[in-house]
């Protein structure tokens, strides 16, 4: 097991390296560049442009720029933003708690709601409850988040005045838990309603498959209560595909929800990424992309390790 994890981690290194190189190449291939924003100023001269290119290291050959970035990145010096001149680690550090707060709430809420509903729809297959859940789930699943988010803002913010239109808290007021939660409701609902659908359907499908297995009949024959049969025998075995998609959600705790954060003006990682993308702020973009891809690789590894715990028949080699 330990050897398996070490081997997987070692395998991940060339993959992450390749991802960062491709990301670097894609970023550099975008038109414009970090100095484009200066061009609106009639006083900005060619001499100014050359000086800034040199100051930002943009006058170096591309492979050298990449290697310089990589060299400092592994030494945990992620460089400075071209636009704000703040260290990339500081910029990420400012936004990460807000994204963890938002996406963590979504993550917990989705699991807490999707598991019981997914199990119930499978146990009570083709009941009215099952049909109602399926219809609701597909409705939200097929809604784009940007549209659902705006819809919720218009309904609960502009029409009913129940909830704030955006932001993380009411400005100019002291910290207040109730106020924080009120700001949290709409963005969480926007992401959770869409995300939950997939989770419920996954769990329902794998539960249905498990419920039909022979050992379920055996469990009942042993005289186990229905509750124990469903939770201990069916759910644990049905959880494997579910764990995969939950594990793949975990990188979003870091990446954030780009669209939702933008709509609700949430000061998280997603908006940092968008704002940096507008400005071609390479150091920030590279930092976020590198960490995001690492999270995704590790989340996959985590899912694989979880399989073994859920199903001891799975062997690592």
């Amino acid at each position: 097991m330990g050897r398996y994890i070490v081997r997987r981690l070692l395998q991940a290194l060339p993959l992450l390296l390749a991802i960062s190189a491709v990301a670097f190449a894609i970023l550099k291939a975008q038109p414009g560049g970090p100095l484009a924003a200066y061009e609106g100023n009639p006083d900005f001269t060619e001499a100014d442009r050359l000086r800034l290119e040199h100051a930002f290291g943009l006058d170096q050959p591309l492979p050298l720029q990449y290697l310089t970035w990589l060299g400092s990145f592994v030494r945990l010096d992620w460089g400075y933003s071209f636009a704000s001149h703040q260290p990339v680690l500081v910029l990420i550090g400012e936004r990460l708690p807000n994204t963890l707060y938002l996406m963590g709430s979504v993550f917990v809420l989705v699991i807490l709601i999707a598991i019981p509903i997914g199990v119930l729809t499978a146990v009570k297959q083709y009941s009215f409850f099952d049909h109602a859940v399926t219809a609701t789930v597909f409705t939200f699943l097929s809604m784009p988040t940007f549209w659902l988010g705006l819809l919720l803002i218009i309904l609960f913010g502009l029409q009913l005045h129940w909830l704030p239109l955006g932001g993380i808290q009411t400005l100019g007021q002291p910290f207040d838990v109730g106020d924080r939660l009120r700001h949290l409701i709409l963005p969480v609902a926007t992401i959770a309603l869409v995300q939950m659908g997939g989770h419920v359907r996954y769990l329902r499908a794998s539960m249905l498959e498990t419920i039909g297995q022979d050992y379920m009949r055996t469990a009942r024959a042993k005289g186990l209560g229905e509750r124990a049969v469903v939770v201990r025998h069916a759910l644990k075995n049905a959880a494997i595909p579910f764990v995969t998609i939950v594990a793949l959600d975990m990188p979003e705790l870091f990446i954030g929800a780009v669209v939702t954060e933008q709509i609700f003006g949430w000061p998280g990682m997603g908006r940092l990424f968008i704002d940096s993308a507008f400005r071609s702020d390479y150091p920030v973009l590279q930092g976020i992309l590198a960490v995001s891809s690492a999270f995704i690789v590790f989340a996959n590894l985590f899912a694989d390790v979880m399989y073994g715990w859920l199903d001891p028949r799975i062997r690592y080699s």
């Binding site: 991802i19 990301a23 894609i26 038109p31 414009g32 560049g33 100095l35 484009a36 924003a37 200066y38 061009e39 609106g40 100023n41 009639p42 006083d43 900005f44 001269t45 060619e46 001499a47 100014d48 000086r51 800034l52 040199h54 100051a55 400075y80 933003s81 636009a83 704000s84 001149h85 400012e94 936004r95 807000n98 913010g157 502009l158 005045h161 704030p164 239109l165 955006g166 932001g167 400005l171 100019g172 990188p251 990446i255 780009v258 669209v259 933008q262 709509i263 609700f264 003006g265 949430w266 000061p267 990424f273 968008i274 704002d275 993308a277 507008f278 071609s280 992309l289 891809s293 995704i296």
Partner: protein, 563 residues
């Protein structure tokens, strides 16, 4: 792995959806009747900004919203009034030749600035002339500053006493009054090796009515009363001003309507009816210096075009005249800009050198006649040709700009009606407005027929006027200029040179007028409209005054909230 690409793609989608290419702000007025009423003190005003300033360090930023946020904190020696005159801010007076503050010595000049007495930084330290010298030194020393234009013309600065700085320029630098528009605190920054790595770029120390007390990335910037302000304790009236970062102008407008914010920066013309029909909101429209224009390439449409080559269609002045005559400026303004703009006449729409001699008006009959007379004959499809050359052109502006796309639709129809075929070939603003040959800006390369964009003149019109000097035509050897039409006129060149060599405002104004007349007589640019700056506020927020040259936050010390 595929998730990374999906993610990047999603970002690209959102980026396109959210792109708002225009970002020209300014000031405002609608109700400036505050003086008569009793002023209420205290309270907090929240201003929505839909672009976050990445830095608040004046030397390093390039965003309009930067000035908007630090206007109440970081001050300069002199500022600009609504009519484009210089007014002293930290200086006791604005030096000029008449008051002896400016002495011209051959092709050099000395400018003597005297600070007003008793001004303190918000931390209580006195403002001295050493701060002026330090400002220049930092700008010239720090490799990360935005532009050194102006500061690079200074040879040395003498400090005869604590309040006086004598600035020795190595050339005649006419825009000297706005050279020192942000004074930096020497006592705070002198020992710093790299100012961009200090707290100053988040919470700059200034002399203005407010000090910046909190910068929450992606969320808000909080300003509180500066107790050491020279106007204290009378001003400022408001205790706090908070700039709230919101994702778009639509969101800003929704929050203004919902009462979550008291003011918002920069509306599009299309949003103005929403404000006008909401009770308790007021619109602030100020004619800004930004002019939307259509430029016509007189040289061949090809990479690194030879400025002396002749465009097969636009090389004929008759075609250029016909395009102007068949451009309905007023109709565009009324229908697409909700009447919130004025027809353009020149690139210098505001200020002391404003040139407002209108171009000839909309007259399709005249357009047809000019083309007929010049030998452009309509073919069976209604498109003209002459000597085997078809009057077919491309028309380039920024992609995704709704207003510009609508303007294009109208003009393509209008021009087709007089027999000129125009095809739209828009490009992303990152390319079209890149301003460099390496980034393939078609205006720089000469790879366009007709373009459309906006540009604002600086308060001193000289850098704007240089755009029409023949030595400023971008070429492969020197890509620096912005004379994109490849306009060449000895008259204009001489007039611009004359204006650049004197400090006599009347003489400069007359010279610029000569150059602009020559430019308009060549029919290479259609000045579409002067775009106003539109901001909105809750009617309870009082004290706003218009200023065409500065963001609406220029007089925040006068703002107050009606209870």
């Amino acid at each position: 792995m595929s998730r990374v690409f999906t993610f990047a793609f999603a970002i690209a989608l959102v980026a396109t959806a959210c792109a708002s290419p225009q970002s020209t702000p300014s000031t405002s007025s609608a109700a400036a009747s505050a003086t008569a009423q009793a002023i209420t003190r205290g309270g907090t005003a929240i201003v929505a900004i839909w672009q976050e300033p990445s830095t608040l360090g004046a030397p390093y930023g390039n965003q309009t919203v930067l000035g908007l946020v630090i206007n109440g904190t970081v001050e300069g020696l002199a500022d600009t009034s609504n009519d484009g005159q210089y007014l002293p801010t930290l200086a006791a007076k604005v030096p000029d030749v008449a008051n002896g503050g400016v002495v011209v010595k051959g092709d050099k000049m000395d400018v003597t600035w005297t600070l007003a007495k008793g001004i303190k930084w918000s931390d209580g330290d006195p403002l001295t002339s050493a701060d002026i010298k330090f400002t220049w030194e930092l700008w010239m020393k720090d490799p990360k500053v935005n532009t050194r234009t102006g500061f690079d013309q200074i040879e040395s600065i003498d400090l005869p006493d604590d309040l006086t700085a004598v600035v020795h320029y190595k050339s005649i630098y006419a825009p000297y009054p706005r050279n020192f528009s942000s004074i930096l605190p020497k006592h705070l920054l002198d020992k710093e090796a790299d100012v961009t790595k200090t707290d100053y770029v988040r919470r700059p120390l200034g002399t203005g009515p407010y000090k910046i007390t909190e910068f929450k990335s992606g969320d808000s910037i909080t300003l509180e009363k500066n107790p050491n302000y020279r106007g204290a304790p009378d001003k400022p009236y408001l205790d706090k001003i908070i700039f709230k970062s919101v994702p778009s102008s639509q969101v800003a407008l929704a929050q203004l309507q919902a009462g979550e914010v008291q003011a918002m920066w920069n509306l599009t013309e299309a949003q103005t009816p929403d404000v006008e029909k909401t009770a308790g909101l007021a619109l602030q429209v100020v004619p800004g210096p930004s002019v939307e224009r259509i430029e016509m390439n007189t040289a061949q449409n090809k990479q690194y075009t030879d400025p002396n080559s002749v465009h097969p269609v636009l090389g004929d002045i008759a075609v250029r005249k016909a395009l102007l005559y068949s451009t309905p400026k007023q109709q565009l303004i009324d229908k697409l800009l909700f009447g919130k703009a004025t027809p353009g006449a020149s690139p210098v729409s505001q200020g002391w050198a404003a040139y407002r001699e209108p171009q000839e008006g909309y007259d399709p009959v005249k357009a047809n006649k000019v083309l007929d007379d010049a030998g452009w004959v309509k073919g069976s499809d209604g498109i003209r040709s002459k000597g085997g050359v078809r009057a077919s052109l491309t028309y380039t502006t920024t992609t995704g700009d709704q207003l510009r796309e609508r303007v294009q639709q109208v003009l393509v129809d209008e021009w087709k009606a007089v027999g000129i075929e125009v095809k739209i070939t828009n490009q992303p603003s990152a390319v079209f407005l890149a301003g460099s040959c390496q980034a393939n800006d078609p205006r720089k390369l000469g790879t366009y027929d007709i373009d459309m964009f906006a540009s604002s003149p600086a308060i001193d019109p000289h850098s704007t006027m240089l755009r029409y000097h023949s030595k400023r035509i971008p070429t492969q050897a020197d890509c620096a200029g912005e004379n994109y039409t490849r306009f060449k006129s000895p008259t204009a060149d001489a007039a611009i040179d004359t204006a650049g060599a004197t400090l006599d405002l009347e003489k400069r104004k007359a010279s610029y007028a000569t150059a602009l007349k020559a430019l308009n007589d060549a029919y290479v640019i259609i000045w579409l409209y002067n775009r106003g700056s539109i901001d909105a506020r809750a009617s309870a927020l009082q004290g706003w005054q218009p200023n065409a040259w500065r963001s609406f936050t220029w007089n925040m010390q006068d703002w107050w909230l009606k209870k």
